[in-house]
Symmetry: C2
DNA sequence: CAGATATGTGACCATTTGGTCACATGATAA
DNA sequence: TTATCATGTGACCAAATGGTCACATATCTG
């Protein structure tokens, strides 16, 4: 009976260095961080301003900003004691170009099959 | 001294029901799952076939597939004892249309500022 | 039917993650 | 210059996450 067990000794996630792309995906995966980016899309905000949009504390927002900055999605402009957070659209565009756009080109026959599968699934509910 | 503490009693994430969009973002945030989708983009694969691309065990791959299915990114076609996993491009396209595309339209003056900030940051490294 | 194949489930575990706070520092305004 | 404001850091905590395995079921194939 084959059950596909691990051959190497390993347990849990080995915490790899994380690629640049992965940092971006990871940063985008959290709804609070996406909300921050939504605000920054309108105009730059200081950290304090951003905090007003959230239930959680300033510290949580700062952690989010740190992740967003590490991913290159947010650029920081220090002015006096204030920190202005600007959005950087480039990483998002890269993600789109390199990973999302290729998914738009599927042959018509496959799309038809997919559509049928989706309909079959909906009927089951 | 203002430090912005929590007003309501709360600790840790309250585990909300997660919106449909969030399921998709969450599913896309893991590199193994993106790799699965890369394979499925070429052609449908059975679960066993997919396992060959990964170091981790079949169980991990199955968990990933379950998440991808819950997010609507993978549609399952059962054929005998085999399970064919098909990619569904629709959720990705929705994410793009509703969230990513809007980031492409930033006014030129803001883009220029952002470019300068990015350059200043590069020099610091 | 009997064994091999392909997938599914629940329990369990270590790490990561998102969150809190006490405490600290640098800039501003009265 | 002194109190206030805006931001930063490290420690800590509970929950989510990604992973493993023992065990189970259903489907071929000889």
């Amino acid at each position: 009976m084959i059950t596909n067990h691990a051959s190497e000794s390993s347990s849990g996630a080995p915490s790899r260095p994380r690629s640049a792309d992965d940092l971006v995906w990871r940063a985008l995966s959290d709804p609070s961080r996406r909300l921050i980016l939504d605000r920054l899309r309108e105009r730059p905000h200081t950290t304090g301003e951003l905090c007003r949009y959230f239930e959680s504390t300033r510290f949580a927002v700062m952690k989010h900003l740190k992740l967003l900055e590490a991913a290159g999605l947010v650029l920081v402009e220090r002015r006096g004691r204030e920190r202005f957070n600007h959005i950087n659209p480039v990483p998002i565009q890269e993600i789109y170009r390199r990973w999302i756009r290729p998914f738009e080109a599927l042959p018509a026959d496959r799309l038809l099959r997919i559509k049928r599968l989706a309909e079959a699934r909906e009927e089951k509910e």
